[in-house]
């Protein structure tokens, strides 16, 4: 009950921070575009261009839209939701606020877990709204009810959860919203994409084994949202997923960072 109160309070906090509403505004815009502007029947020409006619063409078109939605949703989550949750921990740690929270009958471990759960559920529901509506509109317009697209909600929530765990840790240690945002953006937009394509780019330039080993090492320990997006795409397009290693190692990263956060928070004086 106390845990739930804290989880729900994160929802209220996110809504109070206007930036989160930006996510809803843009999601709603996308849903409206799908609802009024995109008409699967009228894009027959596009279907023809894709080299297949009839039902097969429509399937391809729908899947094409779905794959595009992965990247769009991912970008929306990272920009709006990540920014909005990154102030959760620093604002909780403000003097006069944390004191009162810690005087309540809830353990420090549960405080961290409640903040984590709150942020993850927030993103989950946001994705249910966006992906759910897009799916219903696409399906009813095309008559092709493609259920694997719905897994996107879970995969993107997982990607978010992994990065969010790092945001919690940085927030606890630095008390800084800006730093949390900077580090996570650096990771998500620079480090992870570069590591993802390391073989095609860096390794073709640098042949030194030691350097390659170090870069691989970072690839394996750091979270891999780019790989998870690829897996999500593969699942939607029906291609075989090469390896789930990126998922397992990213989840391990998340668990390790969360444990470190709990450990740090428990020892700290406020």
């Amino acid at each position: 009950m106390i845990f739930l109160t804290l989880v729900l309070s994160t929802f209220r906090e996110a809504v109070a921070k206007k930036i989160f509403l930006g996510f809803f505004a843009i999601s709603t815009l996308i849903i409206l575009i799908f609802l009024f502007l995109i008409n699967v029947e009228s894009v027959e020409g596009m279907v023809d261009m894709m080299g297949a006619a009839g039902d097969e063409g429509i399937r391809k078109l729908v899947i094409g839209f779905e794959v595009a939605m992965i990247d769009i949703s991912y970008l929306l989550i990272i920009t709006f939701c990540l920014i909005s949750v990154s102030s959760f921990i620093p604002s909780m740690l403000e003097k006069g606020n944390i004191d009162l929270l810690l005087s309540k009958p809830i353990s420090r471990t549960n405080i961290i877990l409640a903040k984590f759960t709150g942020g993850v559920l927030l993103v989950f529901f946001s994705l249910v709204y966006l992906i759910g509506f897009v799916w219903i509109i696409l399906s009813s317009k095309s008559g092709f009810w493609h259920f694997p697209f719905l897994y996107t909600i879970l995969w993107l929530t997982l990607s978010f959860a992994i990065i969010y765990s790092l945001i919690i840790f940085i927030g606890l240690v630095s008390h800084s919203t800006i730093l949390s945002i900077l580090v996570s953006f650096f990771l998500v937009f620079i480090v992870c994409p570069v590591l993802y394509v390391r073989e095609a780019t860096i390794f073709s330039l640098v042949e030194n084994n030691v350097v390659q080993f170090i870069i691989n090492f970072f690839y394996y320990i750091l979270p891999k949202p780019s790989d998870i997006n690829k897996i999500t795409t593969d699942i939607i397009t029906g291609e075989e997923v090469n390896s789930y290693m990126p998922v397992f190692s990213s989840v391990l990263f998340m668990l390790a960072v969360l444990s470190a956060s709990v450990f740090y928070f428990k020892k700290k004086d406020y």
Partner: protein, 308 residues
């Protein structure tokens, strides 16, 4: 029965990150708070008052020593169901309104919605914040925030309430109202633990006080005991001859202030009356005898002054 007991409680803070230098915020601090009393902690800035409260509530970790609250060690969270707390410079989430603050902290203390509603109505009336309940707290004045903070500390009908500077920023009428609220809580058998700089106020409501300085306990006891240790009298009379002055100084250790005024210190009524007999026998007329009571403030200033 003791509600709070500490034994040799110590707390070291590291003064800067990555530095070995330590600040001793509490130094072998042992004290007890009895059930049903209003207990006040006094001390200059940085004495360790807030640190003490934070350790009792598990917000800060002690370096060593023992703490018992409700007769139990404080290594679980359960005792916090029966505790209320008003932190110094509290900061509630500013997107909430008064009512929502009460609801959030009530539920965080394990209450259900119906219980919180009922208590909120009652308490907001008591602290005179009813008409502000729907207003966002970022529009509150300092005194209003303090009133809401006090109501919040009472939401779960706690057995033990910690108040860190409860009258900070509150006007004199408000302070009187807060004192009445605290008296009322005491009448209902609650225990109140109070930190305050306002000594006259502490004097008015506390049953017992502890004075701390640089993390150590300097003195503790009932307020009247502490302030009545010795009585000073100023005696105003007709002119005193030199011979009598000498006798007053020799026999009664009086301090002559002027030709018709002297200072006499004694906690013994008989001795005071012997002095009066003496001056009357010497045909000196008494104009007035004024008893100087040692206020908590005087006591505090002398005590802390002598420690520095």
């Amino acid at each position: 029965m003791n509600i709070i007991t500490t034994k040799n409680l110590s707390k070291e803070y590291s003064s800067k990150s990555f530095s070995k230098e330590k600040i001793l915020a509490l130094n072998n601090f042992s004290f007890e708070v009895e059930s049903g009393e209003i207990f006040g902690i006094l001390g200059p800035n940085g004495a360790g008052k807030t640190t003490l409260i934070k350790i009792l509530l598990g917000i800060t970790h002690r370096t060593k020593g023992e703490v018992k609250i409700f007769d139990n060690e404080i290594n679980t969270e359960t005792y916090k169901f029966k505790v209320g707390y008003l932190p110094e410079n509290h900061k509630f989430p500013n997107y909430l309104n008064g009512e929502q603050v009460m609801e959030f902290y009530g539920k965080m203390s394990g209450m259900n919605t119906a219980g919180v509603r009922k208590k909120t109505d009652e308490l907001l009336k008591i602290v005179d914040m009813e008409k502000w309940r729907k207003t966002k707290i970022k529009k509150y004045s300092k005194g209003m925030l303090q009133r809401l903070g006090l109501a919040q500390a009472m939401i779960n009908d706690p057995e033990l309430i910690f108040l860190d500077e409860p009258t900070d920023g509150v006007d004199p009428i408000g302070r009187k109202e807060i004192r009445d609220i605290l008296e009322d809580l005491k009448d209902r058998g609650k225990t109140i633990f109070l930190n305050s700089h306002l000594l006259s106020e502490v004097e008015l409501i506390c049953d017992r006080v502890a004075i701390m300085h640089k993390g150590s306990l300097v003195k503790s006891g009932r307020v009247d005991e502490i302030t009545h240790i010795s009585d000073n009298y100023i005696i105003n009379c007709s002119d005193i001859s030199e011979a009598i002055m000498n006798k007053l100084m020799m026999n009664f250790k009086a301090t002559i202030l002027s030709i018709n005024e002297f200072h006499f210190k004694s906690d013994n009524i008989d001795e005071l009356n012997r002095l009066i007999d003496f001056i009357r026998q010497n045909k000196i007329l008494i104009r007035g005898i004024q008893r100087e009571k040692n206020t908590l403030e005087n006591m505090f200033i002398n005590l802390i002054g002598s420690q520095n």
